[in-house]
């Protein structure tokens, strides 16, 4: 586990909102020199605290109007290879995230689609045909907000 101080926390908070800002600009905002800020960012990256960067796109403006979370239960546990299921589900472009879960079901998938008809196509042709898939529960996303977390 990596120890971080308040300045690191401020850097992480700022980069969560805008990762494209330069070390110089961020340093100025936080009262750090450019090299000092750059060194801190590099250290956070090397420690794996900053796992990467993500492009933020407006899904709706790109024509993706529907996001559905699917809870998937595997039908015959023991007889189905988790690896086979995971490999197949990961390859579906409309499946944005796959999480292995303990509880009501086995996996949670985040599926993006153009509209409900498009979602039905993905569900029938791609999801229901996955190896070992059993019961599927669907919840349509209405709104979401991401919080900065305990920083």
């Amino acid at each position: 586990m990596t120890d971080i101080d308040d300045t690191d926390r401020a850097i992480l908070r700022a980069l969560q909102l805008d990762a494209s800002q330069s070390a110089g600009a961020l340093g100025r905002a936080l009262g750090l020199s450019q090299p000092a800020c750059w060194r801190r960012i590099r250290r956070l990256e090397q420690a794996g605290v900053i796992a990467g960067r993500r492009v933020v796109l407006d899904a709706t403006r790109l024509g993706f109007g529907v996001t559905v979370f699917l809870g998937v239960k595997l039908a015959a546990k023991g007889r189905v290879s988790l690896t086979d299921f995971e490999r197949a589900v990961t390859a579906i472009p409309e499946v944005q995230t796959v999480e292995h879960i303990l509880g009501l079901y086995d996996y949670r998938l985040r599926v993006v689609a153009r509209d409900i008809a498009d979602f039905e196509r993905v569900l029938r042709r791609r999801i229901m045909t996955l190896p070992g898939v059993g019961a599927v529960e669907a919840n349509v996303l209405l709104s979401e907000e991401r919080r900065p977390g305990p920083l």
Partner: protein, 151 residues
Amino acid sequence: MLDDLDRRILRYLQADPARAAADLADAAGTTPAVLSRRLARLADAGILRGQEAVIDWRALGFSVEVSLRVTLDKTNPRAFDEFIAAAREIPEVLEIQTFLGQVDVRLSVIARDLAHYQHIWRGRILTLPHIADIEALMHVARIKDELRLPL
């Protein structure tokens, strides 16, 4: 509105946000000058909203992640607003999502360990307003976490 070049640019950018402009232009089959015009246009149209850093909370010592599925008492018209406003006050809440389906709201919560989780659960979660039912699902692993759009 979007043509094939726009889509190619966004696709490559999603795959590697840190890619240098010249390299990205090459991959998308265009020149750096055209690329920079296209990126500016996508940003102006509100499609390309920037970049955000992805934090690996495990690297900061948060090893427990729980998904809380909440059903609210809908007899109270203010239930959603008041629940969400109170959930925002909990630093360990990373995501707040609302749904159409069996679940009303989902909170993604992180904790340092199970004792810490227990503390948050008793002190902060169970005291949230208007909860009719709540169930907790434990994350085991994240198999795919790219949040990319299938452009």
